[in-house]
Amino acid sequence: MQIGILLTSSPEHANTYTVSQLSSTFLKAGHGVQIFLMDDGVYNAVKIPSKNRLFSNLDQLIAQGAKAYLCAVTAEARGLGQEDFLDGVELSSQYELSHLVEQSDRFLAFG
């Protein structure tokens, strides 16, 4: 099953933890997971090489096979560009989100 997820909350929000745990479980069960980050959700994809980094295991989810996209408009509005994001995260658009919704057997929104 293809699972689509929209996350618009920043790393300190409970939604991020929920999405992380859900996605990891879906992947372990053999489902495909595609995560779209928008608004403050794009902060979950920022490279932060610090042990004090807020909880976000997006890099681990990508390593497990999840695909991650983010809204380039909201990233640019926050002063963020491709170089700021984890490897494997694709700058994308609302057009791509509409495709994710179409392709997903289940789509979950967290915001």
Binding site: T8, D39, T74, S93, Q94, Y95, L97, S98, V101, G111
Partner: protein, 114 residues
């Protein structure tokens, strides 16, 4: 094509999230989804005749102006409007009661909440 409901729960001019929800609603029409924007709770203010550009939020108006052409349906929760004596609804917004809101959510394939 999927039935998509975008619920707006917050007052529109106190946050950029309403503008973002409306922009997303437009984007969702690009894959021919049937999009319904649902103004509920404090979000019902979003169904009024707003002038967001006067406080520096032009993004809301830009999206609203394109809704008719992209066949985005807009509904507002009737009960959320009741505290106001003269609700100045936009002409392109339908009023539905709370049961109607529930029905639309139940019929939807995907629900976004802002």
């Amino acid at each position: 094509m999927k039935q998509v409901v975008v619920m707006i729960r917050r007052a529109p001019l106190t946050t950029v999230l309403t503008g973002e929800a409306l922009r997303m609603s437009l984007g969702l029409t690009l894959s021919d989804h049937q999009v319904t924007v649902m103004y509920v709770e404090d979000g019902a203010y979003g169904a009024l005749d707003l002038k967001p550009e006067q406080i520096g939020q032009p993004g809301i108006k830009q999206s609203l102006d394109l809704f008719e052409g992209m066949r985005v349906r807009q509904c507002v929760e009737q009960e959320a409007l009741e505290p106001w004596v003269v609700p100045l609804l936009r002409k392109d917004v339908e009023m539905v009661n709370r049961q109607g809101v529930i029905d639309l959510i139940q019929e939807a394939d995907v629900v976004f909440s802002f």
